[in-house]
């Protein structure tokens, strides 16, 4: 305690002593100017991004016509009963259930399809890797609205002759939609570790292929697998185009329908979905940060 006081005192003494003849602080002045500019830019940008979110929150709390403040929409969502607001929430629960199920199925199919393929071509064939990159990022060039035009006949055939009209089968289309994002996330992970040496080392130690894959590669990749899954979940939860044009029910379609009758509840639900997305990605960030720290700690 005393020591810190003493150092503070000397620092002040130093400052006093040099204050009279202190040379011009050109760099410090520039840093100050820069930080003012940075502050203004970030304030404006974040303001633009947060004002609509804030408005949504207010909108759910204040009845637009009567101007009365109440928690009714939130109560309705968390009790599952919208009768007090005259709204039927069954559509919403149905849509939410479908979307959550779709998240799970889509992520599973995506991982099964992408991870082994990307790992093997990364080790063995540059040419095939480029081909897969091209295919996987193709959905960025073919917008969902275009894809839906072509998916229409396929889904008509699927639902009539092979499967059912159950919205869960939307997962096939959704895997395509999340592919570019998932590909990027996994590619980042693959490029940051030396997979080839890892595989050669474990193979030379006598490990079988499945063992190499599950015991060596997956543990090294799981951070990017997590990030691919999270971004896929965010995409699936926000998907509207394919579901609405193929006439299937999911969260977004339900929100839209409910919005026609009770916009407060659907706005509150949108805010919740968004919050869920933010929590997911912030959690991902914190997890990877903690992992990096523990690795460095070792």
């Amino acid at each position: 305690m005393n020591e810190t006081n003493a150092t503070n005192a000397t620092v002040e003494a130093v400052a006093d002593e040099t204050v009279g003849t202190k040379p011009p602080q050109l760099r410090a002045a520039r840093v100050r100017k820069q930080s003012i500019i940075k502050f203004v830019i970030l304030l404006v940008t974040l303001g633009f991004l947060f004002i609509p979110l804030f408005s949504m929150l207010i909108f759910t709390l204040r009845h637009p016509l009567s101007g009365r403040w109440s928690l009714a929409p939130w109560v309705a969502i968390f009790t599952g009963n919208g009768e007090s607001l005259g709204a039927d929430l069954t559509v919403l629960w149905q849509g939410l259930g479908t979307s959550l199920a779709l998240c799970v199925v889509t992520v599973v199919i995506m991982l099964l399809l992408m991870v082994p393929t990307m790992v093997i071509v990364h080790i063995r064939s540059k040419a095939l890797e480029r081909a897969i990159e091209w295919v996987a990022t193709l959905p960025l060039t073919i917008p969902a609205i275009v894809l839906v035009v072509g998916l229409g006949p396929i889904y008509r055939w699927l639902s009539a002759d092979v499967l059912s009209t159950n919205p869960i089968w939307l997962c096939f289309a959704y895997v395509i939609l999340v592919m570019p994002f998932a590909f990027r996330a996994i590619a980042v992970g693959l490029n940051s570790i030396d997979v080839k040496t890892l595989v050669e080392a474990s193979r030379s130690l006598g490990a079988s292929w499945p063992k190499v894959f599950f015991r060596v590669i997956i543990p090294n990749l799981w951070q990017s697998i997590l990030s691919a899954s999270f971004i896929s979940i965010a995409v699936v939860l926000g998907e509207y185009t394919v579901a609405s044009l193929l006439g299937r029910m999911n969260l977004q379609v339900a929100l839209y329908q409910l919005g026609q009758s009770n916009s407060q509840i659907s706005t509150a639900m949108s805010l919740l979905a968004l919050l869920f997305g933010v929590v997911l990605l912030v959690a991902l960030d914190l997890i990877s940060d903690a992992m990096r720290k523990s690795k460095e700690g070792k």
Binding site: V11, K22, P23, P24, L26, R27
Partner: protein, 416 residues
């Protein structure tokens, strides 16, 4: 400022002098104005200024510079003083965190200083922004502009000065030729090796004919072989252009090879600044003696003028302490090694050979003093002594475990 004032300032502060042979002056930084009187002083100083202006050199004075990084209470530079003559190459040498890079960056204007002042060519530049200081810096790495070819990089400084296209192309080409990269002019710098990139960076810095050339560990990111090649080349070019140069490094070998003078830095200050040989043979402090080259700490008794080590009397360097139990710093090559059977003198101390390193024409022998007498002095640890001698002087058949006698030569050493 008039020309006369400039002269008096520089002749006073720099202690500048001129000898008929300019190169002799440059290689003799201890040259002084003594013996030159009256009119001759003015004449000599004028001559010097003319020469240095012509050759692009500027004198540098950093006076009582204080640097405290924002958010820190430690002084990165603590009343730092440095005085460099025009055309001189000074190396700032020190371990990491000693403030050597901070000193260079403050000189360049890349860091604010909190006290003191910086003069270049007699002009106070403390309040002058970086881009008006007419200095050029070569960074450790990554400083070349990736979207420009080597030629465009070198021409950049001229471009911002508004030099015409043809002219700057010509000058840039000359500079590239100087560093031996004329055939790579059209290449983007990312396609070049690390050594080539640093050559381009050097050419780019020289192209603007700076008053002062600043080199911030320019070789530390390179391979050992390229490093040696490039450092010799930097020295050659610097001697040719006569640009005042400050070179920062942590590598003592590099420093010893290129410098006119080396300033050894410690805790934000220069501990000693002197010509390489002086620094090695006549270190002023223990820090300098141990930082540069190998040294043995041997027990001795000192009266401030002379010391007795292992029974041998040796002269002491200025700044040595007095006392009955001091440490005397003796270089390995200032010790002799004889077999006990051939030892015919009363001085010297018995030791046992631990390791013998053959270094080609030299041999370095690590020994341990046998007598326990010095163990107490050495805080309970065995006293180890390293001796270096020409291979031809190594006693025939010497093997690990043999007994020998170690004797200091009567060469000036530092006691502390």
């Amino acid at each position: 400022m008039t020309a006369d004032q400039k002269i008096s300032a520089s002749s006073l502060t720099a202690g500048a002098a001129v000898k008929p042979d300019e190169d002799a002056f440059k290689n003799d930084p201890t040259a002084t104005l003594e013996g030159v009187r009256g009119k001759d002083v003015t004449k000599a100083a004028k001559q010097l200024l003319r020469e240095s202006a012509k050759r692009g050199g500027g004198s540098i004075q950093m006076q009582d510079v204080v640097k405290i990084y924002p958010g820190s209470t430690k002084r990165a530079l603590d009343d730092f003083n440095l005085d460099i003559k025009p055309g001189e190459m000074v190396v700032l040498l020190g371990g990491s965190g000693c403030g050597k890079s901070t000193a260079l960056r403050s000189l360049a204007g890349l860091e604010d200083i909190q006290g003191g002042r910086i003069m270049v060519g007699g002009q106070d530049v403390t309040g002058v922004p970086v881009n008006k200081r007419e200095m050029a810096m070569v960074f450790q790495a990554y400083s070349l502009f990736p979207h420009m070819t080597a030629l465009e990089n070198v021409a950049f400084g001229l471009e911002v000065r508004g030099v015409g296209k043809e002219e700057r192309r010509k000058v840039a080409m000359e500079q590239l030729e100087l560093v031996g990269l004329a055939d790579q002019a059209k290449k983007y710098t990312q396609q070049m090796s690390g050594g080539q990139q640093q050559r381009v960076a050097l050419a780019r810095a020289l192209a603007i004919k700076p008053r002062v050339l600043l080199l911030d560990e320019p070789l530390s990111a390179l391979d050992a072989k390229v490093r040696v090649q490039l450092r010799d080349e930097i020295r050659r070019i610097q001697l040719n252009t006569g640009t005042t140069t400050v070179f920062v490094t942590h590598d003592q070998e590099e420093a010893l090879a290129v410098a006119d003078r080396i300033g050894v830095m410690n805790k934000g200050k220069i501990e000693q600044i002197a010509a390489p040989q002086d620094l090695y043979q006549r270190p002023a402090t223990e820090y300098v003696a141990t930082f540069i080259g190998l040294t043995n700490r041997l027990p001795g008794a000192s009266n401030g003028e002379e010391a007795v080590v292992f029974g041998q009397r040796l002269p002491l360097l200025p700044g040595s302490t007095k006392g009955d139990a001091v440490a005397v710093l003796v270089r390995p090559e200032n010790l002799t090694l004889t077999l006990p059977s051939q030892h015919d003198s009363h001085v010297g101390e018995r030791a046992r050979v631990e390791v013998i390193h053959f270094l080609g024409s030299l041999v370095r022998v690590d020994t341990v003093i046998t007598s326990g007498e010095y163990q107490r002095w050495n805080k309970g640890e065995q006293l180890k002594v390293t001796v270096q001698l020409p291979a031809s002087e190594l006693p025939a058949g010497l093997a690990v475990g043999d007994d020998v006698v170690v004797t200091p030569r009567a060469v000036a050493a530092l006691a502390c």
